[in-house]
C-alpha cells in the first residue's frame, strides 16, 4: 500500500516536472519575439466566479489570489520584469462594509504570506511595491504593506506593484499637489508630474489586461496606459491561465511594430 502511494507520488512529481519543462520550452519559443516588460492587470470577476461555482462569500477573492500567484510565476519565467495589479480601488471602499473588511483581512493575510521564506517573492527575487493612497488603509494593513516593501527592497530581478487604495484621478491630483509644492515659482513640466506619480517607480505598461470581458479602465493607470495595448479576455480573473498569457503575448508581438514606430516619433 505504502509502495503504491510512494510510486504515485513519484509519478505526480515527474509529470509536474515534465509540464514545467514543456512550459519553459514554450516560453523560449515566445521569447524569440518581443516580450512585454510590464504587464498591468485589472483583476475583475472574482465575485462572479464565486457565484458561478456556488462558493462562499470571499472565496472568489481567494481563488483570485491563487490565480495571481500562478500567473506571476509564468510572467517572471517568461521574462516580464514588472507586473502591476489593481487589487483595491478607492471606489471599492463604497462596497458593503462586510465585504470591504473581508478583503482587507485577506490582504493582510496574503501580504504577510508574501514575505515568508518559501513564497514566490523570494523564489523569484521579486521586489514588492504598494502604490496608492496608503493613508486610507487601516493601520495593520498599512504596516504590513510597508514592512513587505522594506523586506523586499533589495530584490531586483522582478517587481510586483500592487495598487491598493488607488485611483488614477487620485494619483494625478496628488502628483499635481506635490508638483505645486515643489515648484514654488509656478512652472510645471511633464517630468515634474511623472516624478510624483505613485507609479513613477516603473515604466509604462505595454499591455493592460482587464478580465471578465468588460472593456473599461475603471480609473486605473489612465496616465500610464495612454498608449498601451488594451486586452479584455472574457475569462473571469480566477480562470486566467497559461493559454491566456500566451495569446496575450502573441497578440502583442503582432502589433509591436506600430508601438515602436510611434514611440520613436514621440521621442
Amino acid at each position: 500500500m505504502e509502495r503504491n502511494t510512494n510510486s504515485s507520488n513519484i509519478i505526480v512529481r515527474l509529470f509536474g516536472s515534465w509540464v514545467s519543462y514543456m512550459r519553459k520550452c514554450l516560453f523560449q519559443v515566445l521569447s524569440v519575439g518581443p516580450v512585454p516588460s510590464h504587464l498591468a492587470f485589472i483583476l475583475d470577476g472574482n465575485r462572479r466566479y464565486a457565484r458561478k461555482w456556488g462558493l462562499g462569500e470571499g472565496m472568489g477573492h481567494r481563488a483570485g489570489f491563487l490565480s495571481l500567484m500562478t500567473l506571476m510565476k509564468y510572467c517572471y519565467e517568461l521574462g516580464v520584469k514588472y507586473i502591476t495589479v489593481y487589487a483595491f480601488s478607492i471606489d471599492n471602499f463604497k462596497r458593503k462594509p462586510d465585504e470591504v473588511q473581508g478583503v482587507m483581512d485577506l490582504m493582510l493575510e496574503k501580504i504577510e504570506g508574501l514575505v515568508k521564506e518559501e513564497s514566490i517573492v523570494n523564489q523569484y527575487g521579486v521586489r514588492v511595491e504598494f502604490v496608492g493612497n496608503l493613508k486610507l488603509l487601516s493601520e495593520p494593513v498599512r504596516n504590513a504593506a510597508e514592512k513587505a516593501m522594506r523586506i523586499t527592497a533589495h530584490n531586483n530581478r522582478a517587481i510586483l506593484l500592487i495598487a491598493v487604495a488607488y485611483t488614477s484621478t487620485d494619483e494625478i491630483a496628488h502628483a499635481a499637489h506635490q508638483s505645486c509644492l515643489d515648484r514654488k515659482e509656478g512652472v510645471i513640466r511633464l517630468s515634474d508630474v511623472e516624478r510624483h506619480m505613485y507609479m513613477g517607480v516603473a515604466p509604462d505598461p505595454e499591455i493592460l489586461v482587464r478580465t471578465s470581458g468588460e472593456t473599461r479602465l475603471s480609473n486605473f493607470l489612465l496616465w500610464q496606459t495612454s498608449s498601451s495595448l488594451l486586452s479584455s479576455p472574457k475569462a473571469l480573473w480566477p480562470e486566467m491561465g497559461l493559454r491566456h498569457l500566451v495569446w496575450l503575448v502573441l497578440n502583442f508581438q503582432r502589433v509591436q511594430p506600430y508601438l515602436d514606430t510611434t514611440k520613436k516619433k514621440l521621442l
Binding site: S89, I90, D91, N92, K94, R95, T167, S168, T169, D170, I172, A173, A175, A176, H177, S179, C180, L181, R183, K184, E185, G186, V187, I188, R189, L190, D192, V193, E214, T215, R216, L217, S218, N219, L222, W223, T225, S226, S227, S228, L229, L230, S231, V255, Y258, T262, K265, L266
Partner: protein, 256 residues
C-alpha cells in the same frame, strides 16, 4: 498646445458655458427615423449622454482603394456629418471627436497640409450652411440639442500637465492653497470643462486599434470602450447602432 473647437447644434436656449464657442441654431430635421432596427433594439432613456470617437482609418481606407490620402479624409468628413446627424436624432447631448493629435504632426508634411486644408474647407462649409439656417428657427416638443466638440491638436497628457501648470500659477498667486488641490479642483482646469457632461459615457475607436492613443485621459475613468474593425469612412448608422446596443447591454458599476 491644447485646444478644442466647439459647435452647438440644435434648438433651445444655449446653455451657459465658460470658454468661447460658436453658437449656431440648426433647423430641426424631419421626424427622426426609427430609433432602432430589429437587430439593435435601443432604449432612449439609456442613451449615452456623451459619446467620444477616435476617427481612425481614413488613410488606410484610401490606400485600400488606390485613392490619394485626401480622398480618405473627404470620406471621413462625410462619416462625421452622418455621425453628427445620427447623434442629434438619437438624443445624444455631447459628441467629442478626435480629429488630429499632437503626435500626428509627425506625419509627412504634404499629408498634414492636405488635412489642414480639408479641415479648414470642411469647417467653413459647415459654418456657412448652419448660418443660413440660423434664420429659420422652429420649436418642437423634442428639444434635441447636440454639443459637438472637435479636439484639434489635443493630447490627454498635455491637458493634464497644463492643468497642473494652471494650478501652480494659482498657488503662486495665492488664489488657492496647495492643500486644497483635490480631484474636483484639478478637473476644473482641464480643457474639457466647457461642457455639462465632460466625461464620455462611450468611447468608440474605429480601424481595429486597441488603444486610446493619448486621446482624453482623466475623462475616461469610467467610460465604456468600444473597438471596431470598421475604418472610419465606413462607420455608418448600422455600426453606430451596434456600438450603442453594446453600450446599453453593459453593467456600469463606476468602480464599485
Amino acid at each position: 498646445m491644447v485646444s478644442s473647437l466647439q459647435i452647438r447644434v440644435g434648438l433651445g436656449l444655449p446653455e451657459p458655458h465658460r470658454s468661447s464657442s460658436v453658437d449656431l441654431i440648426k433647423q430641426v430635421p424631419p421626424p427622426p427615423r426609427a430609433l432602432s432596427s430589429a437587430k439593435h433594439p435601443l432604449l432612449r432613456e439609456s442613451m449615452p449622454r456623451h459619446v467620444a470617437v477616435i476617427m481612425d482609418g481614413n488613410r488606410r481606407w484610401a490606400r485600400m482603394r488606390g485613392l490619394p490620402v485626401g480622398s480618405g479624409y473627404e470620406a471621413g468628413l462625410g462619416a462625421l456629418r452622418r455621425m453628427v446627424e445620427l447623434s442629434s436624432n438619437l438624443g445624444i447631448r455631447v459628441l467629442t471627436v478626435f480629429a488630429f493629435s499632437s503626435d500626428n504632426w509627425f506625419r509627412p508634411k504634404v499629408e498634414v497640409d492636405v488635412l489642414m486644408a480639408l479641415f479648414d474647407r470642411g469647417l467653413r462649409e459647415e459654418l456657412q450652411n448652419l448660418a443660413l439656417l440660423a434664420n429659420a428657427i422652429e420649436t418642437t416638443k423634442k428639444n434635441s440639442k447636440l454639443h459637438l466638440i472637435i479636439a484639434v491638436n489635443y493630447s490627454g497628457r498635455s491637458d493634464v500637465v497644463q492643468a497642473c501648470q494652471k494650478l501652480a500659477v494659482k498657488v503662486k498667486d495665492g488664489v488657492i492653497e496647495p492643500g486644497a488641490i483635490d480631484e474636483v479642483a484639478f478637473e476644473r482646469e482641464l480643457g474639457t470643462n466647457c461642457t455639462d457632461f465632460p466625461h464620455p459615457d462611450l468611447l468608440i475607436r474605429t480601424s481595429g486599434e486597441l488603444r486610446v492613443s493619448n486621446f482624453l485621459l482623466w475623462q475616461l475613468a469610467h467610460t465604456e470602450l468600444y473597438f471596431t474593425e470598421s475604418l472610419w469612412p465606413d462607420f455608418g448608422e448600422d455600426e453606430f447602432l451596434q456600438a450603442l446596443s453594446s453600450f446599453q447591454e453593459r453593467q456600469r458599476r463606476f468602480g464599485c
